[in-house]
Amino acid sequence: MTVLAVAEHRRGELRDVSDQLVAAGYDLADETDSELHVAVVGGDTAEYGDRLNRPSVDVVHTVEAGAEFNHDVSVQAVEQLVDAVDPTVLLLPHTVNGMDYAPAVASRLDRPLVTDAVDLAVDDDLTVTRELYGSKVETTVDVHADRAVVTVRPGEWPPADGNGEASVEAFDATIDESQVRSTVTGFEEAVSGDVDITDADVLVSVGRSIEEEENLDLVRDLADALGATLSASRPIVDNGWLPADRQVGQSGKVVTPDVYLAIGISGAVQHVAGMKGADTIVAINKDPNAPIFDIADYGIVDDLFDVVPALTEEFR
């Protein structure tokens, strides 16, 4: 039996999630006494193939397929590789690009797909643990099939490290150009303004519970009183209340301030990915079950509309 994990790269770099996929693959291969194969499609396959040669990896498959990810190419390459290797479990990343091709791969292979795994176990069946309702609850999902495709949430497995003794093998995929219906023409960095939130020592960060744009003044006043920089979670930026360069999280900036004050932020996984490296995290939220309290060092379970003005007053 074989577990196959497919790495991810972008603009000349193997992305961190790749080593996490290797680690998840290792756990699964160890539990099921399987071989662990790793693959990389496109990019600098010589360098990536070498990097992915981690301890306990049996084979690294490198597939020449252009410099950047293209889902139509990846779908065809991975489909052919799966036909050749026949892995019991195919592991792909639950990233933006993973979401752009994993469902198509599963569909073509006619294998069940479970996405966004935070844990994996094998008894008789493969059991995938995932979260529901914005991380409020966890669920286990059993896959009643002998083959499956699973996408793995970034940041859940500690990355594989070190050098292994895998054989690195080039795999020739035949890409049918007539099936390539999309073309990547470039990349664009989010426009940044005059404030760099990644430079701030203290961030006052505001989330959905602020409810109305007018209420932002409450947190602005607090940030001013503390001499802190204002940042935000995604809904505030989606609403156009603050510019994109203020957004903390997976699709925004990763910040590591001394103090991060999360106000009315529930702490969805995409947000936490951007701020978990802060030295001290303080959360104010009226929902005692909000996931933000799982990573906060200090917390107040109360209405921000009561606490924030009182806190501002303390510093005036």
């Binding site: 139509d72 979401m99 569909s107 409020k136």
Partner: protein
């Protein structure tokens, strides 16, 4: 031109809740139009306003209760709606992507749209796989996590930005017909006007069974089964300040001063 928008009625769970077997106790849930789908509906309706002769059809899989949700899309400007339902779906706690793609795909095949818009993911199951599964099933092009869309119907191409991690967009051209999964923030979803809400009541909402769509009962066979639902063990070791707002704010102020903040 025809645009098909898939929408979902999602389960919204209260802050405080109880679990009943494999679901959240009814007393603690409400239902709403999926947040991502609101942006997909808005994108479709905006295109229909800008381009002549565009019909916007919304489709959902859901029980009678979901009529309320799909009427929200009609009130915002969609022209008509299709709801797919079979009572056996009530027992399926989590629909796998392939089943969803089969059901929605059957409607898409009848409608033959030029463009299909879905939300990136749903706020409850968050599988994030419906759109791309559907595209593959329909043999259409696709792009996932689209945060900018410029449709060039004459050229038969959608120019899109895909929102990658870390504040980087990928810029792509996708051949039509295509399925695009729409990210929040791509537009500013409108509120339904009173007139829109009134009009929505008289717009066509067709309910289709598996039979109507030419699907056999095995269309619902799912290889995945939800086996447990529980509250995750809290990993938190947060020190909580307790008391009234004045008290807790005072204690937090003390802590912040200790850390050298606001000095």
């Amino acid at each position: 031109m025809k645009i098909l928008v898939t929408v979902k009625e999602v389960t919204v769970v209260d802050d405080e809740f109880e679990i009943d077997g494999l679901s959240i106790d009814d007393r603690y849930v409400t239902y709403d139009l999926n947040e991502w789908d609101e942006y997909a509906v808005e994108e479709a309706v905006t295109i229909a306003e800008d381009v002549e002769d565009v019909e916007v059809v919304t489709v959902t899989v859901g029980p009678e209760r979901a009529d309320e949700t799909i009427r929200q899309a009609l009130a915002k400007g969609a022209d008509r709606a299709v709801r797919v339902w079979d009572d056996r779906l009530a027992e399926a706690s989590m629909l796998d992507p392939a089943t969803k793609a089969r059901l929605l795909g059957a409607v898409a095949e009848e409608e033959d749209p030029d463009l299909v818009l879905t939300g990136v993911q749903s706020g409850d199951d968050s599988l994030g796989a419906t759109g791309v599964s559907l595209a593959e099933r329909l043999e259409m092009g696709w792009a996932a996590v689209v945060n900018q869309l410029d449709l060039s119907a004459d050229e038969g191409v959608a120019h899109v930005h895909r929102e990658l991690e870390g504040g980087v967009d990928e810029i792509s051209d996708v051949e039509l017909p295509a399925v695009l999964t729409i990210q929040t923030g791509i537009n500013d979803p409108r509120y339904a006007s009173l007139r829109g809400i009134r009009q929505a009541q008289s717009k066509d909402l067709a309910v289709k069974s598996l039979d109507d769509l030419g699907l056999g009962p095995d269309a619902l066979d799912s290889p995945i089964e939800q086996t447990a639902l529980y509250e995750p063990e809290t990993e938190g070791e947060a020190t909580l300040f307790e008391g009234g707002a004045g008290e807790t704010a005072g204690e937090l102020a003390g802590l912040l001063r200790e850390k050298g903040v606001g000095q």
